[in-house]
């Protein structure tokens, strides 16, 4: 398997997941997940709530430890990294949280400066200021720079959350439910932003969602998670042309909603 993996890494494989298992007590959330994510690819993990989608990306960025299996990110086995190595890897992996997780005691500027000041110590104050303004401009929210998170709308919070991860110029972006709780128009804006981020920052992304519009508009590849396993992987059309009742039900209910 190692040689196969090395060959794939040379072909631009960025994330490899093999036979991944994770349980919480008697709740077996992930039961043998396999996934390959190639450079600059947007992979959407689709599935119902509570199926372990978020657990999957939390394992990818080392927030949770797997029970069994291999998770290789940019050539590093996440599970075996020491704290310092994990921190170095995390500078290359951005994570956008479902509820944005902005630091609510800090302004937008301070939220963005927080990781930058601590990870890019060579930057001067002026450079940090410039960097913050440039990323905020990218997400279209430069005017909110001095606002507190509590003064922002849901969509704005999501955008600032994405900006905060982008400020470290990550190679990989992990989006946890980027459109949940947003109105359809704001959702489309976020989907466009995800595509823009890939274009401008050359990122590889895993997008966790149950929103088919988001999946269709952002994903190069869809992986359908059901009962702790991927039951189908492929393009949007390939996945949903499958005659599997579980996939068809998911499709139907999404649009009935």
């Amino acid at each position: 398997m190692e040689t196969e993996l090395k060959n794939k890494v040379q072909k631009g494989l960025v994330i490899t997941i093999r036979d991944l298992y994770k349980s919480f007590g008697d709740n077996h959330v992930l039961q043998g997940i396999n996934l390959d994510v190639f450079s600059k690819e947007n992979v959407v993990v689709l599935g119902r709530s509570g199926t372990g989608k978020s657990v999957l990306i939390k394992i990818v960025c080392g927030l949770l430890k797997p029970d069994k299996g291999l998770v290789n990110v940019l050539g590093n086995e996440v599970d075996h990294l020491k704290d310092k190595q994990l921190r170095e890897l995390r500078q290359k992996v951005g994570f956008s949280f479902q509820n944005s997780a902005l630091y609510d005691s800090m302004t937008v500027r301070e939220n963005l400066a927080f990781p930058l000041v601590r990870n890019a110590k060579h930057l001067s104050r002026q450079e940090i200021k410039k960097e913050i303004e440039s990323v905020l401009d990218d997400v279209g929210l430069l005017q909110t720079i001095n606002q507190m998170p509590s003064e922002l709308s849901g969509g704005q919070r999501k955008r600032i959350g994405i900006a905060r991860t982008l400020i470290l110029r990550p190679q990989i972006m992990l989006y946890d439910e980027p459109t949940s709780g947003l109105d359809p128009i704001t959702s489309i804006e976020i989907n466009n932003l995800i595509n823009l981020v890939r274009q401008k920052f050359n990122t590889t992304s895993i997008i966790i969602t149950h929103d088919l519009t988001c999946a269709k508009s952002t994903g190069d590849k869809i992986a359908m998670l059901y009962d702790g396993k991927f039951i189908k992987q492929g393009t949007f059309d390939e996945v949903f042309s499958e005659n599997d009742e579980r996939i068809q039900n998911f499709y139907k209910y999404n649009f009935i909603k």
Binding site: F24, R87, E88, R90, F97, Y103, N119
Partner: protein, 262 residues
């Protein structure tokens, strides 16, 4: 997400939970000492927390300390008067305040005000994934949140204790002056006549221990909060209750120790 647990029960479920909690608290303390003395240091955050713990507690501490000194003197006078020993009042009050009341009152007030604040703040950061967000931004949340707060409470508590002692003595002086027209100088000369270095030193040690306890308990409870807003409330509450309990245990131990030295 609500996950079931299926750990094997070793003794009883409650005993298991207690020992698991004790072990994890011990690990938390060990981690604090590992992280506290290794760079990078979060100086700005430490200073900010010192301001939060120290300066923002001054109002409440002033009021409580002053009233404690005043009331303690007032209540002690009749007993001493019975033996015609009113002249001992300043030294009695000084011993009581410096040896016991100042450190204890300061610690209990701070356990309520600062401990609950730390527990609730960190608890809410935990349940809203802000701590995870720090972690994935390649920032060490333990160093930023826990080390800074515990250092701030440990550093500020002795200062607050000294301040409480001074204010309580002023309260005591006011009562004595109003009743016996004793001058400021003769009151404080009499008060400090019976105070030894060990009294002050043991109080300083006590307040350092109390400060550390308040900080570490608040941070531990907040850092391990679960179950949404309910968990935040529980973390704040548990921070106060546990730190007050530990403060009394420490008080007994330190008093025993200093009495054996004395």
């Amino acid at each position: 997400m609500n996950f079931k647990t299926s750990e094997k029960i070793l003794i009883t479920k409650k005993a298991d939970l207690f020992f698991a909690g004790l072990y994890s608290a011990f690990q938390f303390i060990i981690r604090f000492f590992k992280e506290a003395f290794v760079p990078p240091y979060e100086f700005k955050e430490i200073i900010k927390q010192c301001y939060e713990v120290g300066y923002k507690s001054l109002g409440l501490i002033t009021l409580t300390g002053f009233i404690t000194g005043l009331v303690f003197t007032k209540q002690s006078r009749p007993s001493l008067s019975e033996f015609g020993a009113q002249s001992w009042l300043p030294s009695l009050v000084a011993i009581a305040i410096i040896r016991a009341l100042a450190p204890l009152v300061t610690a209990l007030i701070c356990a309520g005000k600062v401990g609950s604040n730390i527990g609730a703040e960190l608890g809410s950061m935990k349940v809203t994934e802000q701590i995870d967000a720090m972690e994935v931004s390649a920032v060490n949340p333990f160093k930023y949140l826990v080390v800074s707060r515990v250092l701030a409470t440990t550093l500020m508590m002795p200062l607050l204790m000294c301040y409480t002692g001074c204010v309580a003595m002023l309260g005591a002086f006011l009562n004595v002056h109003l009743n016996e027209l004793t001058s400021f100088i003769s009151f404080f000369e009499a008060a400090f006549d019976k105070i030894s270095f060990l009294d002050i030193f043991s109080s300083l040690i006590k307040s350092i221990a109390y400060g550390f306890t308040i900080g570490i308990v608040g941070c531990y409870k907040g850092f391990n909060a679960t179950n949404g807003t309910e968990g935040v409330g529980k973390a704040a509450n548990a921070s106060v209750v546990l730190s007050m309990f530990l403060i009394f245990i420490e008080e007994i131990l330190i008093v025993q120790l200093t009495n054996s030295i004395r």
